[in-house]
């Protein structure tokens, strides 16, 4: 049992260390680098007629642009996670989407996701740590219908992390991408029902005795998958496991299987 006295010593040591730092704030303009902070907005500005008209116009533009984007959505677009130096995957810069900030500079050096809450009727929690000393890897979920990012985005959680989807151990019954976590799989390709293709490289999660898959992203719920398949180093297709879909069903999901998983 650690005594309060020792905890006080720890407090004191931290305080001493902190006090050794003398750092005055630089000019604000240097930090926000735009000079006058024009982006500042009052919490609830009262709007005049002109402001409301402008807002209505902006809303109309958003609707039109959104409709155009929907009609011309990027079918067949392929997003690949390119390997960084050392073979580690790096997130590409994606078109602005639900959580654009993540992809600006995120390096997917490992899998790290935290999300907890109730989304779409399912409660889930991911904790997948690469540097956790092998101690904390837990997956608890009732159902998974959406990305953790949706939760982070809804809650305005700052700096949310990329999402891990699937792992070879610690998951219930062949869930997700189990079966493709094999040594001979060098790339995983996911085709969604609307024809988009996502490819990503498997990532070894050090210290966690598991292997995870990092997916790039957008809002890509599991039931939107059409097929999941692996590619070996030579590009030969390795069919994905039916467990991807079985897992959804076991969790009470509503995924339908329009085509055989792994079918070409």
């Amino acid at each position: 049992m650690i005594s309060d006295t020792f905890e006080d010593e720890v407090r004191a040591a931290l305080r001493r260390a902190a006090d050794s730092v003398q750092s005055a704030p630089p000019p604000l303009a240097d930090v926000v680098n735009e000079g006058a902070p024009t982006a500042l907005r009052p919490d609830e500005p009262r709007r005049g007629r002109a402001a409301w008209a402008a807002a209505a116009l902006a809303a109309a533009v958003i609707v039109v642009v959104g409709l155009a984007a929907f009609l011309g959505r990027d079918e067949g677009r392929q997003v690949e996670v390119a390997p960084a130096d050392g073979g580690l995957p790096v997130a590409p810069v994606l078109p602005k989407g639900k959580w654009p900030d993540i992809y600006k500079s995120a390096d997917f050096e490992a899998v790290y996701v935290v999300a907890e809450g109730k989304v779409g009727g399912g409660r889930y929690r991911y904790l997948a740590h690469p540097e956790n000393d092998g101690e904390t890897t837990c997956f608890e979920f009732d159902r998974l219908f959406t990305w953790a990012g949706t939760y982070c985005s809804n809650r305005s959680i700052p700096d949310p992390r990329p999402v891990v989807l699937g792992a070879t151990s610690g998951w219930e019954g062949g869930w997700a991408l189990n079966g493709l976590a094999r040594e001979d799989v060098s790339l995983v390709r996911i085709t969604t029902r609307d024809g988009r293709i996502f490819t990503t490289r498997p990532v070894i999660v050090p210290g966690a005795s598991m292997r995870g898959w990092v997916l790039v992203g957008e809002d890509l719920p599991m039931p939107s998958f059409d097929r999941v398949e692996g590619l070996d180093a030579a590009g030969i297709v390795i069919p994905g496991p039916p467990a991807v879909f079985d897992g959804v069903r076991r969790q009470g999901g509503v995924a339908r299987q329009d085509s055989e998983p792994g079918a070409p």
Partner: protein, 162 residues
Amino acid sequence: VSTFVQQRETVAESGFEALYTERYTALVRLAYLMLGSVHDAEEVVQEAFAELHRRWGMIQAPAGYVRTSVVNGCRHRQRRAAMARQREQRSLPPDTATSGPPGDPLADAIARLPERQRAVIVLRYFEDMSEAEIAEAIGCRRGTVKSLASRALAELRRVVDR
């Protein structure tokens, strides 16, 4: 109307500046304890404030937001550094940064703790955050926070007793 809005913007701007002035140094110290480098700490804090600035007006609790951003920024940086070391196949020595004045074995021992344990110790005993707050900040369960803190304290005690 425009004058009114301008006044409100001025108020919002001064609110940001006040928070920046009030919390900057404290947050640099927090980041320093987690990173062991004043330079890195300043960068992380400045990035956090820049991010807050972009979202100012949309954030309900800016002080908590910027602190969480700093914690996340530190952890992100630590992970990058750890992975860089792994890429170099451990050709570099482990993190030898010290977080205290020379000759402070306890502070040195804190600086040598694994990243998550150090984060918990710093947030618990420097920031006086509750277990629940720490759990939310570093993204784990309260039980994990307890476990990390317990192990970290045990390790620190072991080092100090040695």
